[in-house]
């Protein structure tokens, strides 16, 4: 059990995109702000800050969650993946390539969040139906694309993934 005074910072350590990160944070600091301000990974975007828009979605222990609805202290000891962790050795992730190909983005503000939810779906190994893709996307607001290109990109990624035997 640990008890802190109001302003006292708490030491936390977590694994972010495969890298060990240690930091000190006020308990009230949101995970989204910790990722952007303390770790310097600004690919995670902050839109509404109350869990509606989905821009700040990251993978928390493999699950897509809104990082504005978590405190950084709650992520102590966890594994986080952000959009910066998708590309490997300078090569874009399959989903990133297909979002470009299928016009799955325009202004790009919502894209990092949508990508992370899509990665969770892709990693589940199941071939999602269009309905399941739409259900997942209901957690993200995009005001540019009308979602059509986004859905095509994800469907295409799932097909490719299946051909490759689920490697990604």
């Amino acid at each position: 059990m640990s008890i802190q005074s109001l302003k006292e910072k708490v030491k936390i350590s977590l694994l972010v995109n495969g890298r060990e990160v240690e930091g000190e944070t006020e308990p009230r600091k949101l995970l989204s702000d910790f990722i952007r301000e303390d770790i310097g990974l600004t690919g995670t975007h902050v839109g509404c800050e109350h869990g509606v828009c989905g821009s700040c979605t990251v993978l928390f222990n493999g699950k897509a969650v809104r990082s504005c609805l978590m405190f950084a202290v709650q992520a102590n000891g966890s594994t986080i993946q952000t959009v910066e962790g998708l590309a490997k050795d300078g090569e874009q992730h399959l989903l990133q390539k297909l979002f470009t190909e299928c016009h799955g983005l325009q202004c790009g503000f919502c894209t990092p969040g949508i990508l992370m939810s899509s990665v969770e779906l892709l990693n589940s190994g199941k071939k999602p139906t269009r309905r399941e893709i739409e259900e997942m996307l209901s957690g993200h607001l995009c005001r540019c694309t009308g979602y059509k290109g986004v859905i095509e990109a994800i469907e295409s990624a799932c097909r490719t993934n299946e051909c490759k035997g689920g490697e990604n």
Binding site: S2, R28, H50, R66, L69, F71, S117, S138
Partner: protein, 291 residues
């Protein structure tokens, strides 16, 4: 939008948590998944002096069946509930309703116990657990107690939980109902429901309803058990007239508020439409299983 300052405690077991709650009392607030609570903190609609984060408490996790009773740990996530095979097989009402809770991304963190303790009158799980006549297990430094869900909800966002108490488990008898349905209407998928209905029926071989449970949401300060309609349905087959009469009886005690999202009249209209849909769907499912 940043929360006000608070002290943070992260007890590693239930014993430590109830000791903390005893010392801190009403200054403290328990945080589980935080999917309803953190928006409230971010908007500074609430500024508790202290948060007690229960996520490490293993005793509160998981779903198990003991002596014909399904025991759902308070920290079970809504996503786990939605996907759990035991739930899908035995209490499909819960799997069906859970899909209406927020989005996959919030269900991944939002907890079952959190939903029930938060007590939003339009939330899905409080409705379902009232339909299922669940029992709520509560712990404090003085030990544990059980309470019926009938007595649990007091008014908007208020339950009979005392500041030093923690909701630890929800108990549901394995269903003797063969028909179930959950219906709700919201402006956008995942938003708060304007109105909702949860229905459980046991339909006999001859098509007679042997037992009925019907709960409405969004029409009162707490989930509303439609007792008149439940009594009326017992022993009847669901003819058109029976259905219409049951729908009328279901909303007899409903007195929804008018707010920005919907007028009183519109909510009542929705409640009737959803009740009709839920009753029909539950009845047809019950008949199919019976035949």
């Amino acid at each position: 939008m940043k929360p006000a300052t608070f002290t943070y405690h992260c007890p590693s077991n239930l014993e430590a948590a109830v000791q903390l709650l005893d010392v801190i009392g009403s200054e403290g607030k328990i945080i589980a998944g935080g999917q309803s609570f953190i928006p409230i903190l971010n908007m500074r609609m609430s500024e508790p002096g202290c948060l007690i984060d229960i996520h490490q408490i293993k005793e509160l996790k998981g779903i198990r069946v003991e002596d014909g009773v399904l025991k759902i740990g308070a920290l079970t996530t809504q996503r786990e509930l939605e996907q759990h095979d035991v739930i899908k097989t035995n209490i499909p009402l819960l799997s069906e309703a859970t899909q209406f809770i927020g989005h996959v991304q919030t269900r991944n963190r939002g907890t079952v116990g959190g939903s029930v303790a938060h007590a939003d009158p339009s939330a899905e799980l409080p409705l379902c657990f009232l339909a299922l006549d669940a029992e709520i297990v509560i712990h404090s430094i003085d030990g544990s107690r059980k309470t019926s869900i009938n007595d649990f909800f007091v008014t908007y966002l208020t339950t009979e939980l005392m500041p030093e108490e923690i909701l630890t488990e929800i108990h549901v008898s394995l269903s003797q109902f063969n028909g179930y349905a959950f219906e709700e209407f919201s402006r956008r998928h995942g938003d708060f429901a304007l109105a909702a209905a949860a229905c459980l029926l046991s339909v006999g071989e001859t098509g007679k309803i042997e037992n009925a449970r019907l709960v409405l949401g969004g029409v009162e300060a707490v989930p509303l058990l439609a007792e008149e309609a439940m009594r009326f349905l017992k022993g009847k087959s669901l003819s058109d007239e029976t259905l219409e009469r049951a729908v009328e009886l279901a909303v007899i005690d409903a007195d929804p508020d008018t707010d920005l999202h919907a007028s009183k009249e519109y909510r009542l209209h929705l409640a009737k439409v959803l009740t009709r849909k839920a009753l029909l769907k539950a009845y047809n499912r019950g008949l199919q299983k019976e035949g």
